[in-house]
Subunit: 382 residues, 2 copies
């Protein structure tokens, strides 16, 4: 299958490209290095430098014997995206090409505007390009569990039957996102759902929880093929951040009460979920939604685990509750259904002590590159 | 109260400006004439030419002795909107400044892109400008009943309590819009709802049904103060179109079965709803939603009424069902709650035979300017 990966330079885009290439698919990656530029501008370089996409593709070919094609350009630009789709004519499109940081989207008006314009216009252009060049292509869109927020009822997989005054209607599960970034993903969903109904698009929306880790089957023992690993507040996911903080003796930053509960998954499972979705595509005219997580933890539970495993490895890990810069519930009901991907064949890689120890070991190797001032800046939600 | 009307040149913006000025408010109107340019480009001029905003403000002053201030510029441009908000420091903002046509948004990719970029970025800029310059200002946003679509359960006023597996949560009423234009209004709501929660904005969202008519208390017997009256498929609302078709003997274009039911209101009631909302503002941190309609009709019912009243006035009105260019249900449940604005004091102007006859009389005066080729073009939804 010919697969176009939009945002192929990212934390998840690049590992997906390698896995799908390893599985025999013809892979094309597209990126404009927006994520790299934002990190530079905000002075939050990742843990180690990562080669550019052309270079990584060469490294991958040396390692695997397989080719990946690269296009560098801005997907909000119709001339560029139509050129790519016209040349590639993909069977499937994976849409990772978004400004992916909730705190970044809350910094100021300019960052908010960039987030809105990039995320909405890339999604719109993907819809128009699929319609024009590959109307049967399967769009796999990376959504986020953050679209749902923290409702007081169970979170179903994308849809809910509402009974009201003796009548019944199936709706998209109502969303109430916790950041502007997450809100742009809700808006993406609005647009995709509309055009699925109008143009019979074929879409899978993967409502993903925070991802952790950096080792996959394709890059194990090949650090030159690792993705970005961010440990800063803007681009680092919470467990990755806690691991880096543990390594340098920076007290783990628990926001407020620490009861915030979310659904997490190993980066290996992200890749498997995306691949399983591609191998079992949605129907034409279907917006299929899966909740992409394997287990839920509160922030306190994550911090305690990192502390326990870290201390067992000779680190001296402290946990410190700080004033919550976000506006969110710190103690709430959270019960998301997540059986759809398991039914497709997902075999979860849970967060064991061994997995955590492996992450800590890798980060320890880069300990001297961690700059403490990058860890926390307290971007405020209000 | 100092009121900033964004989109003050439009079908509803200008009549609102006059009414609020007549009621003693200090009114400032802003527009970039986008609606006029789109109509020119698409060759769908309104029934009669309308003076530009500066000229209309002079006409209004000559008539009423009251001043309205004008700014001409593009609200997607932060430099412009921040200049306006900085100078005006409004107590309330009425946000009409959107590409308002469902069929226009479905013409092609360029029209869709314009709709998305204009509507989303104006709304975002309004949010940022209020936050920066007038954080206590009341935003009255013109939404649309079209955001809800045609669900099989009653349409509540913006919110719904969902009971699910023994638990309960209040949600924004789930939306499934019927055009890209309507979808951008859903996206606007997503953004407003997010920032209401984060920044304690004060917002009223008026979910308005199709409006008809052109005579208001302020322009009665002053045709030079009439708003645009469009009779074409792109910018004409259905009843206005049917009246023009009846006048020139163009069979009333009923799409498909004609069972499509919507909630309608007289332009006078739109103005009253907006004014009542301003006089009774939402609280800080409240997204207050009203369904703004006074009665529901199916398309067949509207066509039959125009036929009956028109024939009674000596016209020869035919009704013709044509293939539906839209993708929509032609026969469906429709029961919207709309008591909130009545509780605020709205006294509806219903669609009586007299109201319809007055509309027909005015359009008859301009009969020779109606170009039949402008009436229908069949912009397809799919």
């Amino acid at each position: 299958m010919k697969i176009l990966i939009l945002g192929g330079d990212g934390y998840l885009g690049w590992p997906s490209a390698m896995q799908l290439s390893a599985y025999g698919h013809e892979v094309v990656v597209v990126d404009n290095y927006l994520r790299r530029r934002m990190a530079q501008e905000q002075d939050v370089d990742p843990l180690f430098q990562v080669a550019n996409l052309h270079e990584r593709v060469r490294l991958w070919q040396a390692h695997s014997g397989k080719k990946i094609e690269v296009f560098i350009g801005d997907l909000t630009d119709w001339d560029f995206i139509s050129d790519v789709f016209g040349k590639v004519q993909p069977d499937a499109v994976i849409h990772y090409a978004e400004q992916p940081s909730a705190p970044y989207s809350m910094i100021d008006r300019k960052a908010a505007t960039l987030t809105i314009q990039n995320n909405i216009m890339v999604t719109a252009n993907v819809i128009f390009a699929v319609r024009e060049f590959s109307p049967d292509a399967h769009i796999v869109k990376i959504g986020t569990m953050g679209e749902y927020g923290t409702p007081n009822i169970d979170i179903e997989e994308g849809w809910i039957d509402v009974k009201h005054k003796g009548r019944e209607q199936k709706f998209l599960y109502p969303r109430q996102a916790g950041s502007l970034y997450h809100t742009t993903k809700v808006m993406d969903t609005d647009m995709l759902w509309f055009y699925v109904r109008m143009w019979d698009l074929r879409v899978t929306d993967l409502m993903q929880g925070p991802v952790y880790g950096l080792v996959t089957d394709e890059n194990e023992n090949h650090p030159e093929l690792y993705p970005f690993f961010s440990y800063d507040e803007l681009f680092g996911t919470v467990l990755n951040r806690f691991v880096a903080q543990a390594v340098v003796g920076y007290p783990l930053t628990v926001y407020g009460k620490g009861g915030q509960t979310r659904g997490y998954l190993n980066i290996k499972d992200t890749l498997n979920c995306v691949r399983l979705s591609l191998e079992n595509p949605a129907d034409k005219g279907e917006l299929r939604i899966f909740n992409q997580l394997t287990e839920t933890f509160s922030v306190n539970e994550l911090a305690e685990r990192v502390q326990r495993v870290g201390n067992g490895m000779g680190l001296d890990v402290e946990i410190k509750s700080i004033e919550n810069p976000r506006k969110e519930l710190e103690d709430h009901y959270y019960n998301p259904v997540h059986s759809g991907l398991v039914e497709l064949g997902l075999e979860p890689n849970f967060l064991t002590d061994e997995v955590l120890a492996q992450m800590i070991e890798i980060v320890v190797e880069h300990k001297d590159k961690i700059a403490n001032h990058r860890i926390f800046r307290g971007t405020k939600w209000a």
